[in-house]
Symmetry: C2
Subunit: 461 residues, 2 copies
Amino acid sequence: MTFDPQTDTDATQQLAYVIDSGEAEHLAAFLQLLPPEDTTYTISHLDEQRRTRMLSLLSAEHSDLAADLMEHFIDEHAADMIEQLEPSEAAAIVDEMDSDEQTDVLAELDDEDAEAILDEMDPAEAEDARDRLQYDEDTAGGLMITEYLAYRDDQDVDAVIADLRANADEYNEYEVRYTYLIDPAGKFIGVVPMRSLVMAPAGRKLADLAIKKPTSVPVDAELEDLEGLFDRVDFSAVPVVDAKGRLVGVVQRAAVQEALSESANEDLLKVAGIIAGEEFRSMPMMSRLLRRLAFLLPIMVLVLFSASMIHLFIGTVGKLPVLAMFLPVVSGLCGSGGNQAVGVSLREVSLGIIRPRDFLRVFFKEAVLALFAGIVLGAALLAVVWVWQGNFYLALVVGGSVPVVIVVAKTAGGIVPLLLQRLGLDPAMASGPIVSTTTDLFSFFIVLLFATLMMSKIAVA
Amino acid sequence: MTFDPQTDTDATQQLAYVIDSGEAEHLAAFLQLLPPEDTTYTISHLDEQRRTRMLSLLSAEHSDLAADLMEHFIDEHAADMIEQLEPSEAAAIVDEMDSDEQTDVLAELDDEDAEAILDEMDPAEAEDARDRLQYDEDTAGGLMITEYLAYRDDQDVDAVIADLRANADEYNEYEVRYTYLIDPAGKFIGVVPMRSLVMAPAGRKLADLAIKKPTSVPVDAELEDLEGLFDRVDFSAVPVVDAKGRLVGVVQRAAVQEALSESANEDLLKVAGIIAGEEFRSMPMMSRLLRRLAFLLPIMVLVLFSASMIHLFIGTVGKLPVLAMFLPVVSGLCGSGGNQAVGVSLREVSLGIIRPRDFLRVFFKEAVLALFAGIVLGAALLAVVWVWQGNFYLALVVGGSVPVVIVVAKTAGGIVPLLLQRLGLDPAMASGPIVSTTTDLFSFFIVLLFATLMMSKIAVA
């Protein structure tokens, strides 16, 4: 229905051909031969029907490959593809995903769709998945995997090695750098690194090999706490315990890094005015339109509000129409300056270097910098306007406004993200528009006020 | 010299007190007791002298702790701190860093400072570090660690386990999930997972345990290739080989994820107008001022250039001063719309979903969406202006400009990042200003052109 000229690549066309042939074996071989760096691109350029048919073909005998392919895509995107499949096909693929990916994808689906898939899954896998789905996405519970090696602490090395040997296939994709020790109630009591197991003499009890004072995190630990912890320790994974101290999963360093990278990516989109930080051009047009309008309609109100400042001075503009040209110059320049301060604050907040209590420090740092920047930029603008318009007083109004406005723009840019964070709002989403509106409003006011005050001198010159 | 009201936290004050006491043992104990999520914040709020003194105290007996602390900070920030120390103190700390962190920090220093530190380091560590420093930061060579386990393929399991046992302390922080097999020339020939070692019967040759067709990456593989690879495989690390096929290091999944997260963070700053994507308020004021001006001075030229369009229609503005109010409304609204398209394109480019060849597809997708968005927003604006100003033709000029301008803004926003990428430029840095300038210029032209054409009707109303 929507106009969508697909610019297919050669690889996409070949893939489409293989899918149309309906040969699952050929398809699997083709996908395995695709260069890794082209996989995402090639698959995302397939039309939706073919993509669904591809997954449906793979779900019978090659569900592990299909699960690997899904990891190339953002969770939301993967969920969109899974949703198109029959529940039994979807279940075969979801069954093969790593448990953290499973949770992420199922969480993106409608409850009804997720239930239909869970019902078709391996019952033990489905139960684990249901347990994990109760945790928030960006907490230890949402990021953890539940495939890990746990043993009672009174077992000895030989029993563990026998178990490893017997279940080598199943343990193949586990977090196997550590084994975790639990007591009979499932309570987490220690960690034995794999290398200690390798080196231990036969008959040694696990309890004797355990690291003293093992690190663990609560299931509701937040992403930033996990970031701080992995900054501080060298482990590649830490165990996750519930409120009763029971071992419930393992969070891997790579999962935390991946979540941080996604959150930085979402911030980039939020700053650009994409609500919730998610949009792909492959989404339905109407959904994209509504998301964009949800941001642009409030923006329209804000720009009208700041422009209404000009209305107060419409007489001044009538006497000196050239001001219409310099209003957007001052507001655009100072708005860019404010935006720089927003960027630095968002970054410093996300890195944990500043917190809302640093309000005053950020304010003064930005004010001093803005004053110097404003003097340089204002002087340059004064010179340009003087030469261009041949009117010193007009140039003084325009150039002289810059230091005043940019101090407001940059201090607002620095502190608005902190204030929003203090209020529990998302600083990445709203800081830009708030700072831009403030800067516009204030720049129009200052330029027109100065012009009104200097009108007699400007008019004479 | 610069005004810097330090808003110290209690923890920072306590830390300062411990540093001033000069007791390295107390200091180490205090730092180890700090909650991980407060460490970065507390240390970054120390004044520079105390931070240097802290590291200098730790460098003698607690250089490992100092090295761990450094990992809390971005490389540039860590390098700034290291630079303040005596080369011998700095060397003691750098010696204790993981090899990838070592490279990152040394690469940020001036060549002279880095050499002074390398000269004081353990000679073998220093030689390895010099080797790694020749690789670009975001390639396999720059991201790899050089602590890994490699054995000749004709060795047997017993010899390896004996070696592991003998060097357990040294191997403690190695990537120990795999052992790598090399031939006598150092050429990479295979991988043996640690669990296969654990389970292998005594006397077994390593060659018999090796994974067939092992994955490896060339030392110059780019970050995005590594991202694609780790998306596709389940390994937590892959071996890195030089042009001659020799094993030179190991890239860990977590290192790739961390580099991606840093690059997304830098994009956020670049989009906000911070050159090179790096600024912290702890940097010297002059350096921050110059970085910001380096962006704002070209912006001044751009805003002057787009505003000069208004000059062509100054007569129209003189007849209808209220246009001065609606020019920034249309340009601000449509500029926000263009910015949304920039954000989505930057994201899709960084995820590998679109490439420069998708130019036309992106163009049409944005054009269709923009047309619908423009009709909704234009109609809303027309209604507001009509009610507010009581002049239907003026409202028609303002509201009718929106669909025309927003189609240009959103298509430009969608394709400019692709064009910049094709030209080998950084899309995150320049897309925003280019799209804003285009939108401003075009919106001023369209609104003033429509107003000039409709002037007779507007004036009568």
